[in-house]
Symmetry: C2
Subunit: 300 residues, 2 copies
């Protein structure tokens, strides 16, 4: 069967660490997928646009559709960072190589993917963290203020907390933690001085890679790690409450992103019974939400 390119849609989910793309046909079957580098334009416009093109080409290749030109594709993209008006404008003005390029922020397409409709709420905890809801009261975007000043309970935030606490512990100013040995090993370091030299000037993506150290230690009962997770989860519970309380009906809420599986048991314990009931497994991934978004834009 020959696939006409007019039937092809690409969905992009671009975050601070990576960019995911899928190619789907008119029946919404996923034909291929690709992953490339960071695509949050806050950390570089050129990097973001490069990652979008790269992931799309990888998705075409995995679908054996290398012969399709980018100029034949209708692309929906949800990107972290474009909630900042200046970045939304910059990305909208991009001289993109596609037939159509529809842009939304990552939370909008994540919500659409999770609930297959515009009503619902999502919290994403990957490299960054952010909450979004769309209800009869309108849209609400909470958090997502970036690293290190915001994005509490994100991978980068957990990684930074781990570094802070380990440095305090190695200085003997707080008790010892299981994270001390784990962080030294992960960074191939021998001392606090060594850690500082290794992490100096590093970005959110780097810190996000250290988040698992906190969860590993907490799951073994480490009190310092547990305190970090409780602090993060209390924030997510407040975020969840804020996202859904204004609606006149029970809004479905999903937790997405690289940390969601490890956070889920801790978060459940921090949510009220009502919020626990509202928590649902997402129907599809954000990149599929980006396809639904592009289809909606194209078909009016």
């Amino acid at each position: 069967m020959t696939i006409s390119s007019t039937q092809l849609f690409v969905g992009i989910d671009g975050g601070g660490s990576k960019c995911k793309a899928i190619v789907v046909n008119q029946d919404n079957d996923i034909l291929g997928a690709g992953i490339s580098g960071p695509a949050n334009p806050l950390h570089g416009f050129n990097q973001a646009t490069h990652s979008i093109i790269d992931s799309t080409q990888l998705a075409l290749k995995s679908a054996c559709l290398d012969h399709i030109s980018l100029s034949e594709l209708t692309v929906g993209a949800g990107l972290a960072g474009v909630n900042l008006p200046s970045l939304f404008e910059q990305m909208t003005n991009w001289g993109h190589p596609f037939k159509h390029f529809f842009l939304a922020h990552d939370l909008f397409i994540a919500n659409l993917g999770a609930h297959h409709c515009h009503h619902g709420a999502v919290i994403i905890t990957g490299t960054g963290s952010c909450g979004f809801s769309s209800t009869d009261e309108g849209e609400l975007l909470v958090g997502g203020h970036g690293f290190p000043q915001g994005d509490k309970a994100s991978g980068a935030w957990f990684g930074l907390q781990a570094c802070e606490q380990v440095l305090l512990s190695l200085d003997d100013l707080i008790p010892s933690s299981l994270m001390n040995k784990a962080l030294l090993a992960k960074l191939s370091c021998d001392s606090a001085t060594d850690i500082v030299a290794t992490i100096a000037g590093e970005n959110a993506t780097f810190y996000a890679q250290l988040a698992t150290i906190v969860f590993d230690a907490a799951e073994q009962g480490d009190q310092i790690a547990i305190s970090i997770i409780k602090d993060g989860v209390d924030y997510l519970a407040a975020l969840a409450k804020k996202l859904v309380t204004n609606a006149s009906y029970e809004v479905k809420l999903s937790i997405l992103g690289g940390l969601s599986l490890r956070l889920q048991p801790w978060l459940l314990a921090a949510l009220s019974p009502t919020l626990q009931r509202q928590l649902v497994t997402p129907l599809s991934a954000p990149e599929f939400g980006a396809v639904l978004f592009a289809q909606g834009k194209l078909h009016g």
Copy 2:
């Protein structure tokens, strides 16, 4: 009177925000002073060496000693960051323009300046924070791990805490704070989104300029600001205790740096009666300690 250049010493105190230099004669009279830009080599070797030369030339000029060549000066320099061995080595290998250039870390010369002897302890809270003590048990350097992972209770740390709490407050996830209006005004911003766009990617020096917002609000009774200061001061109290407890005698302790005056009343309340008694006003500034250091090196 003609001053012979062989009698001239320069003392340098180089930190993350600025570099201070003084010129003194053989009687240790301060003849002139100069201030230039950042001199922590962690944030750039070229910037650090440029600031050292710049501040020295400004100090010579203010002493009407423009005719003196740099190659005739004996310089003692205390620099933040050179507790990292790689940076100490890089600065030691600098092809400097002086007759002599003696290098130590900023805490070593601050301690020497504060107590006019090698025995004593200092805590510096300026752009960064760090503790140092020199006792019969040896030297102890605690903290000073940089921004954002360390340097708790420093100007940069207070500024970052202010941003974090204001963003949470503007998101309506914590109560309102006096800091909200103050930060928006300071940054000429209208919203959380606006704040994020302004502070994205900023460094420790930028955040340190926001520290006064926390103290202003706390002194007016703002509970969120008071919590931040208490968290910082508890750290400094633990640091102070750690610095002096190993010695077999009562070690004198001084608090130095741009935030020391505003921190002093909060810190006193957090210290034990013994530590309160050990707290003394510094005899001289760190840059004078750098002169004493150079003289000691030169004479033996």
